[in-house]
């Protein structure tokens, strides 16, 4: 019973952090379950994917209702992220636990570094290329139907490649992949950051589903662990959205970077069998 309550609390903490920092809960749930509860990495990844679907569905519902997310662009790109997730979900069963732990440690370091860079160069991220400066796309009709009010998306092939890679990473490591999808849409395709974040949130659901189905049908999803964690993540995300305006996100970001660095160290040790 205590473990169930701790999972609820741990999921809630991951949900709060995730919603305040614009990340899915997966980046914290996998270390929590493997390092905290001693779960095999694949089982932790399966639980994490379910939590990612919860946060994605809940937030995408709101973003779509408010027409912030770009459904058309998201659907085109999620075809590629789902394909990447299919490959990743199958490859995950061929890799050793140590290799997966090593990859996860690498991902944690990358996220930590990108969070430090984001805090130091926020204005650069907030300024996508204006529509007038964008070169004329080869197939104007289709790319224009994927654009939204006030912006025109471009470089669709780059977006497809980024989405494919995001799907692969998501399935291998049980994270949403927003850390790849948002910069891909915003920096490479000229989509405003707010729209890119909302669209990425929506796409994450399909990416996670593509691989979660594999884990579910292969008996790698433990409902006694996934249930409390998913509920906790949902509650945490709700709390995070309500308290966001009262918290200094810069302080929180640095705290999170420290947590990520420590977790990467722990995961690195696991990968090296220490």
């Amino acid at each position: 019973m205590i473990a169930g309550l701790v999972l609820l609390a741990g999921g809630a903490a991951a949900g709060v952090f995730g919603s305040l920092l614009g990340l899915g809960g997966g980046i914290l749930i996998v270390p929590l379950l493997t390092l905290g509860f001693g779960l095999p990495l694949r089982e932790a990844v399966a639980v994490s994917l379910v939590s990612v679907i919860v946060t994605s569905s809940a937030s995408a519902g709101v973003y779509l209702q408010r027409h912030v997310a770009n459904l058309r662009l998201g659907m085109v790109l999620e075809l590629f992220s789902a394909s990447g997730a299919l490959v990743g979900g199958l490859v995950a069963f061929l890799l050793s636990e140590q290799m997966l732990a090593g990859l996860f440690a690498g991902l944690l370091i990358w996220v930590a570094v990108s969070m430090v860079c984001r805090s130091e160069s926020a204005p650069a991220l907030a300024a996508p290329a204006p529509a007038a400066d964008v070169p004329e796309p080869a197939s104007p009709a289709f790319i224009d139907t994927l654009s939204g009010p006030g912006y025109r998306a471009h470089s669709l092939p780059l977006g497809m490649a980024g989405s494919l890679f995001a799907g692969l990473v998501s399935a291998l490591l049980g994270v949403g992949g927003g850390i790849i999808k948002v910069p891909t849409m915003h920096l490479l395709m000229g989509v405003p950051l707010k729209v890119a974040t909302a669209t990425s949130n929506m796409m994450i659901g399909i990416t996670a589903t593509s691989s979660a189905v594999i884990y579910l049908l292969r008996g790698q999803l433990d409902p006694f662990v996934a249930g409390p964690t998913a509920l906790g993540v949902f509650a945490g995300a709700m709390i995070g959205t309500r308290v966001a305006h009262r918290i200094d996100v810069r302080v929180l970001r640095w705290l999170f970077v420290v947590v990520l660095a420590y977790t990467a160290f722990q995961m690195g040790q696991k990968a090296l069998g220490l």
Binding site: G61, R72, F93, G205, S210, P228
Partner: protein
């Protein structure tokens, strides 16, 4: 193709997408509420039954067995029902969006929706084959 034609076509596509987005939003919002309701009942039942979350043997997953488990009011029945619904929710959103684009005559987006479902279908087949 003139700039005006492109702009008109883009505006029309955005109006259609806005209507479909509202529909998809309802599927996701209500689906999440219902699925988490099942999960909540399952977690409460699990805690009341004193199930050891980490050490208990993992109950096997069988889609066909879920209705029976729900009738028997077992915690794992509610958990599996909620988790299955959660995993299926993004697919429901794609189906609804695909149907919306079909009604609007947007064949390219219908094709995209169909391909997304096909990829998920391949995932399911691959998982079952590997399991076998």
């Amino acid at each position: 193709m003139s700039g005006v034609t492109i702009a008109t076509r883009a505006a029309g596509a955005q109006d259609t997408a806005a209507r479909i987005e509202t529909l998809a939003a309802r599927v996701l919002t209500w689906g999440t509420r219902i699925a988490l309701g099942f999960v909540l009942v399952g977690v409460v039942g699990m805690l009341l039954a004193g199930v050891d979350t980490i050490r208990s043997a993992q109950p096997p997953y069988s889609l066909a067995a879920i209705p029976g488990q729900l009738v028997a009011l077992t915690p794992e029945g509610f958990l599996w029902a909620g988790l299955t619904l959660l995993v299926a929710l993004p697919l429901g959103r794609v189906v609804v969006a695909g149907a919306g684009f079909l009604a609007a005559g947007d064949r390219r987006l219908v094709l995209v929706a169909a391909l997304v479902l096909l990829v998920i279908g391949v995932s399911i087949v691959a998982a079952l084959r590997l399991e076998a």
